[in-house]
């Protein structure tokens, strides 16, 4: 595989051909925010937070699926991108009912952390305040749709790593929901192996382990990447 050289935020970096811009940036300690990307599973390119500007292209490109190419000049934090990311985060916060102060994932939540790091400290748009259910029918886990951001990490982790495909997305547009099997209570979803990968994958407090209260939930999102890597490289001890 050949090596290409490109510039990200004035920094000259090298990358393997075919590597994504997100990968390359992270290797070089350049932070590009994202919510739907999860190491170890396929990309959805749905959260649009990792959009970057590439010189010579008028369109903004998602870093998670854009391949590094020789001579590429990439900007990750132009004023426009900063503003757009802020607004995207606002949209996330208005869509469901995100109340950090009473959330199990308080201080372990990627959405909360991004709001802080991207300077989104108030939401100018109207909160939609949908009325959404909480499903705690599963013995070990629960899902609070109020906190779901539809990143589909759970769907992908369940399908691609565990192989159960218990999760999928139902409905469409603003009415989209993640569901288990035929949208019956999670506890009745026969395909679920209770492996808990979805809970680890979830960036917010939407999927949680039962019995944890406010701010108690810890997430180990590395675990999934470890599994994928170990399986591929046949190496379980690093």
């Amino acid at each position: 595989m050949s090596v290409v050289t490109l510039t990200i935020d004035e920094k000259i970096v090298s990358a393997q051909e075919g590597q994504t811009l997100l990968d390359v940036a992270r290797e070089n300690a350049i932070d590009i925010p994202t919510l739907c990307h999860l190491d170890g599973v396929s990309e959805a390119a749905a959260c649009r937070l990792c959009l970057v500007e590439v010189v010579g292209t008028s369109r903004l490109l998602p870093a998670c699926v854009t391949r590094a190419a020789e001579g590429m000049v990439v900007h990750t934090t132009t004023p426009k991108l900063v503003e757009y990311r802020r607004m995207i985060l606002e949209l996330f916060f208005t869509e469901r009912n995100h109340v950090c102060s009473v959330c199990v994932a308080n201080s372990a939540c990627e959405l909360q952390a991004l709001a802080a790091s991207q300077g989104m400290i108030h939401v100018r748009l109207d909160y939609l305040h949908p009325h959404l259910p909480v499903d705690t029918s599963h013995q070990q886990f629960g899902i609070d749709h109020n906190r779901c951001i539809l990143c589909t990490r759970c769907v992908r982790a369940c399908d691609e790593i565990e192989g159960a495909h218990t999760w999928d997305v139902a409905g469409r547009g603003i009415h989209s929901r993640v569901i288990t099997d035929l949208a019956q209570p999670w506890g009745e979803a026969t395909s679920c192996t209770s492996c808990g990968k979805c809970v680890q994958a979830c960036p917010t407090g939407a999927l949680f382990r039962q019995g944890s209260t406010v701010a108690e939930m810890q997430k180990d999102r590395e675990q999934l990447a470890f599994l994928v890597r170990a399986r591929k490289e046949k190496q379980w001890i690093s």
């Binding site: 959260c47 649009r48 903004l60 539809l150 547009g173």
Partner: protein, 543 residues
């Protein structure tokens, strides 16, 4: 079937045509106003009058002026009857043998008809949509035969490139270039997909073409298949068009039976199968990656491009996707030559475009005009303008397009000119609005459409459309302040630039264009802000 058999069949068919043919439109528009009864009554009247050897009634495709249906035309060169009823059938049959008819006759010298130049609609309204023989009689499948027997695939691609044909689905991507890309991909399974998911509200050109002349689309697809090296085609039709589905299926079966589709087309080594796939009510499936997902039996969620379908499409194989009207142009281009086609239209937009002219305009229906015709000519001369009023704006391009105000009616209709005005050619919907139309409501209407049709995959479209809709509703209801308008104006570029697919990227366009041309209609609905009492917040004096 070889060349001479094809000619024989066509000649035999022509010979069987009666001296007078009563063409009764049996496309959806006229069927909805009772065309079927008229058609049956005419057949009956022919039998009753004992004229079966002199007159025949033919259920043809769209005759254009849908607003005045049911339409019946006496062919060849007879009068065009409007708003006919079954009771008038005997009289029209009488007209076929020289009696004077008792039915309202449309003036076919009117610009609505005389300004048209028909390529796509060439045989629409001339032939029985459900009989391949009639299509063959008017030269159908000649182009396919010619391509297979006289041209290399590269020459076919070359011809399409030279013709200057651009995609009729909206964006106007050069068709030849797309074909060349797919053709260049390494051999192996490739697919040809016809996008018949005409979802723009106010647009029905593709429905009409598929209902009126399904073989023309199939022929175009088969030629494309030969050119790019594909042996399987899919035609994806929205489920709201049951008649189009039925006629396409019938057409495919007839074509297979005659050996013009299937294995060994025209006894050459070229195989080409076509399957109809039906949508199930999702506008987003008009977006090509969503459409492919739907053909694969999945949720119609788009995916990022690149990779483009030309490299990685259906089942990750190279896939050529063109719109119905694009394919319908192909047979004629091959038969008449690239130069002929390129001589029509403007420098960058060649050929003709079919528009569905609707809204507050006198003559509603389908028109096919050379590219470069002015909006004014289409709306005011052909369409006859607004009944008892004046044009305020013309909406083109559906929910992805924009509203062009009356002062720009002299604009030539081509891809570039419309884009310059902040609208798009789109698939060809052209909706006329008069002075009573409230432009904020129009913007809200389209936003509601996009909000309902968003697939929900990416956040800017899923929630951005909802937020824009809320802001538009607030403005329309007089509850918004200038802060709300400012927020709307920030959402517009954000949603355009950050959405994953074309639906979200273009969803703000109607807002953008109405804000550009009718800003005062927004501003006059704003309410005053809560005052900060003139106090200046910063900088604070040091205490």
């Amino acid at each position: 079937m070889d060349r001479s058999e094809l000619n024989d069949l066509a000649q035999r068919e022509r010979a069987s045509w009666k001296p007078a043919r009563l063409h009764c439109c049996t496309a959806s528009g006229c069927l909805a106003t009772g065309a079927e009864g008229v058609f049956k009554a005419m057949k009956q009247a022919i039998t009753d009058k004992g004229l079966t050897d002199r007159v025949q009634a033919v259920g043809v495709g769209c005759l254009g002026l849908c607003g005045r249906g049911p339409l019946v035309q006496l062919a060849p060169q007879g009068p065009l009857f409007e708003q006919v009823s079954a009771e008038q059938a005997p009289s029209m049959v009488g007209a076929a043998v020289g009696e004077s008819p008792h039915a309202a006759i449309l003036d076919t010298a009117h610009p609505f008809f005389s300004s048209q130049l028909k390529i796509v609609c060439e045989t629409s309204g001339e032939i029985d949509s459900e009989r391949i023989e009639e299509y063959l009689a008017l030269g159908g499948y000649r182009a396919l035969h010619m391509a297979l027997t006289e041209m290399t695939p590269a020459e076919v691609v070359q011809t399409i490139s030279q013709s200057g044909l651009r995609g009729r689905g909206g964006a106007g991507y050069p068709t030849g270039l797309k074909w060349a890309t797919v053709a260049k991909m390494p051999p192996g399974p490739k697919y040809v997909v016809c996008n018949g998911d005409e979802g723009d509200p106010g647009a029905f050109m593709d429905r009409s073409v598929m209902e009126s002349d399904p073989h023309r689309v199939l022929e175009g697809m088969a030629i494309a298949g030969y050119a790019v090296g594909a042996t399987q085609g899919f035609i994806y039709v929205r489920a709201e068009y049951p008649l189009a589905v039925e006629r396409l299926r019938k057409a495919i079966n007839q074509a297979k039976k005659l050996g013009v589709l299937g294995s060994g087309v025209f006894e050459t080594p070229f195989d080409f199968r076509v399957d109809v796939r039906i949508g199930a009510g999702a506008f987003v499936c008009g977006e090509e990656t969503a459409l492919m997902a739907s053909i694969e039996g999945r949720r119609g969620s788009p995916r990022p491009r690149p990779p483009y379908p030309a490299e990685m499409g259906l089942w990750d194989r190279p896939t050529l996707i063109n719109n119905v009207e694009t394919f319908a142009n192909v047979p004629t281009i091959l038969r008449k030559g690239a130069d002929w086609f390129a001589s029509i239209g403007t420098e960058k937009s060649k050929g003709t475009k079919v528009f569905s002219l609707t809204g507050k305009v006198r003559n509603t229906g389908l028109v096919e005009v050379p590219m470069g015709t002015s909006l004014r000519h289409i709306v005011e001369v052909m369409g006859g303008g607004v009944e008892g009023g004046s044009v305020k704006a013309v909406q083109t391009g559906g929910p992805s397009g924009g509203c062009i105000p009356a002062e720009f009616l002299d604009t030539s209709v081509d891809y570039e000119s419309l884009a310059q005005l902040g609208s798009i050619m789109g698939s060809g919907g052209m909706i006329v609005m008069d002075q009573t139309t409230n432009m904020v409501e129009v913007a809200r209407f389209f936003m509601e459409f996009c909000m309902d049709e968003s697939c929900g995959k990416c956040i800017p479209c899923r929630v951005g459309t909802v937020q824009m809709h809320r802001l538009l509703s607030k403005i329309a209801e007089g509850k918004a302040t200038s802060t709300d308008l400012a927020l709307l104006e920030q959402l517009v570029p954000m949603v355009s630039e950050t959405s994953l697919c074309g639906l979200g990227q273009t969803a703000p366009n109607p807002v953008k264009s109405t804000l550009r041309y009718f800003r005062h209609e927004y501003e006059e609905r704003l309410r005053p802000m809560t005052s900060t009492n003139g106090r200046v917040p910063l900088p604070l004096r040091l205490a």
